[in-house]
């Protein structure tokens, strides 16, 4: 009964591969649960209202918070988005509209290269471009570093999302005598909006979680500052400083700040999903 044997063997192979892929899927999410478990167990006890509203206390004094770092991260990401979003979205549109021109191919390749550049190198570039001419660390320098980090991500997702929209919609619009720019802006972009928005949020989440490009651009600040031309605090640099400090309560606060950062990024994701779920699904 060769037929029967082959059939059974095929079923067994299928089951083995299925089990293997389930195991791999589990392995892939284990780190996430470890991170969540660890940060919650270490950091949750230090989270209270004061942690969000108070300033850091001098070493040795108990309590204190990271209000300045929270606001600082907000300002840095805002500067990054202000520069990175328009440039990224517009170049994504350019790449999808003229996808086969030599210049577009060049830009696409360079964007991919930029996407792979380590974030610390981007920090160095921002240091040379902004910090050296200004002769001081500043929020602007940090924002520029984050913008450079966000741009390739946004460019690529914008291009890919626009390309996912079937060509037939573009033809339908052009066939109605709608000019090309209006077709792109009012027909194609709304259809691709959801995907582009995902890309924007992913890049914001990534920028909010970066430490390396901020270390020698925004530097960090133990005092309250919202001035753009002064060094500014951020959650990630706060974590970095507090985690390597030799004080027990500082270490706990670093865990707490990490937990806050994770929750923030998760919240961004959830809110975005709720907002975009029912738009002409």
């Amino acid at each position: 009964m060769p037929y029967n044997f082959h059939y059974k063997w095929r079923k067994i192979k299928s089951s083995i591969m299925m089990i293997l892929s389930i195991i791999c899927a589990l392995i892939a999410i284990i780190p996430l649960f470890l991170i969540l478990f660890y940060t919650i167990s270490q950091g949750f006890s230090s989270i209270n209202w004061a942690f969000f509203t108070q300033m850091p206390k001098p070493a040795g004094e108990p309590g204190g918070g990271m209000a300045n770092a929270l606001v600082g991260t907000g300002i840095l990401v805002a500067i990054g988005s202000l520069i990175g979003l328009p440039v990224g979205i517009l170049s994504g549109i350019y790449l999808s509209e003229n996808s086969s021109s030599i210049f577009a191919k060049m830009v696409r390749f360079l964007t991919e290269v930029l996407n792979g550049v380590p974030s610390i190198v981007i920090g160095v570039v921002a240091y040379v471009l902004v910090v050296l001419p200004m002769k001081r660390f500043s929020a602007i320098a940090g924002g520029v570093a984050l913008a450079i980090l966000m741009m390739p991500l946004i460019t690529r997702t914008t291009e890919e999302m626009i390309k996912l929209i079937p060509h037939s919609f573009r033809e339908a619009a052009l066939g109605l005598g709608i000019p090309r720019w209006k077709t792109t802006l009012f027909i194609i972009m709304p259809a691709a909006f959801k995907g582009i928005f995902t890309g924007i949020l992913l890049s914001i989440a990534r920028a909010a979680g970066e430490t390396a490009p901020l270390l020698f651009t925004a530097l960090g600040n133990r005092f309250w500052s919202t001035q753009l031309d002064q060094p500014i605090a951020s959650l990630t640099v706060f974590i970095y400083d507090y985690a390597k400090a030799p004080f027990d309560n500082w270490n706990r606060q670093a865990w707490a700040a990490a937990l806050v950062l994770i929750i923030l990024v998760t919240l961004i994701n959830i809110i975005f999903r709720l907002v975009t779920r029912k738009r002409y699904a």
């Binding site: 079937p166 037939s168 919609f169 033809e171 339908a172 619009a173 052009l174 066939g175 109605l176 005598g177 709608i178 000019p179 090309r180 209006k182 077709t183 009012f186 027909i187 709304p190 259809a191 909006f193 738009r279 002409y280």
Partner: protein, 268 residues
């Protein structure tokens, strides 16, 4: 009165002139995709307020011909040589955007705009060209949905997404959307080939109605459909125009053996 008379005379003379019966006309039209010569020396008249069917096997250049008539061929990187006339004017001198308002197009697959409601789909061409009078837009929505024989089915769901309609309804929505721009010529690229028989017959009835006011060019793979709805038929083969005549003639007594073989289903 004496001033108007010669003008009137002129109009009457023009109307009797055989050329004025043609809404569009191609003269030695050649179309290329890069180096591929897709259409070879096509000279074809498109008579006013009639239905011209274009038949032929796949890859014979039917769709390319259609897309030359509203310069959509250039959108996909194709090039054109020769003349295409609309009311005796060369369309290559037109701005493509303005041309496409006069020469509308219906595609094989229904393609209502995915982010727009039924009503917004109908008026998309007007709104995106700067027409925003809400009351007028509502009237236009109803007028053209009625013309497209869709009003009764959608009048209570005008605010729902156009993409929620059935395939046949979507295609009639696309027709309403094209009519709303008030074109003179409507190009249809196998408009019923993705639809079931009932939706197909609705579209065919609609085409019959539309030819009172519009000039229609329809590409079809369905010979019966061509025979049912068209006044004139052109048979294309390998990028060349083989034969064109009144539809009854093409299907009952064609001049060429090739045409007869194709319409009787012996090849193709």
């Amino acid at each position: 009165m004496t001033n108007i008379e010669p003008i009137l005379k002129n109009i009457i003379i023009n109307d009797d002139h055989p050329q004025s019966k043609d809404r569009m006309k191609t003269e030695n039209l050649n179309a290329f995709f890069g180096k591929v010569h897709a259409l070879k020396n096509i000279s074809l008249s498109i008579p006013k307020n009639k239905v011209l069917a274009i038949i032929g096997p796949s890859g014979c250049g039917k769709s390319t011909f259609l897309r030359c008539l509203n310069r959509m061929h250039e959108e996909v990187g194709g090039t054109i040589k020769g003349n295409v006339l609309l009311d005796s004017e060369n369309i290559m001198k037109y701005d493509p955007v303005l041309l496409r308002k006069r020469v509308g197009m219906i595609f094989q697959k229904p393609n209502p705009f995915p982010t727009m409601s039924v009503a917004d789909n109908v008026t998309a061409g007007l709104r995106l060209n700067g027409f925003h009078n809400r009351k007028k837009l509502r009237e236009i929505t109803e007028k053209y949905l009625r013309q497209a024989a869709l009003w009764d089915e959608v009048k209570d769901i005008l605010k729902t997404p156009g993409a929620n309609l059935s395939g046949g309804q979507q295609q009639r929505l696309c027709i309403a959307r094209t009519l709303a721009v008030e074109p003179e010529v409507i190009l249809m690229d196998e408009p019923a080939s993705a639809l079931d028989p009932i939706s197909t017959s609705k579209i065919e009835e609609l085409i019959f109605e539309l030819k009172k006011n519009y000039t229609i060019v329809i590409v079809t793979h369905n010979m019966q459909q061509a025979a049912r709805i068209s006044d004139y038929t052109a048979f294309f083969l390998l990028g060349e125009l083989v034969e064109t005549d009144k539809t009854t003639k093409i299907f009952t007594n064609p001049k060429l053996k090739k045409t007869e073989d194709y319409v009787t289903g012996r090849f193709g």
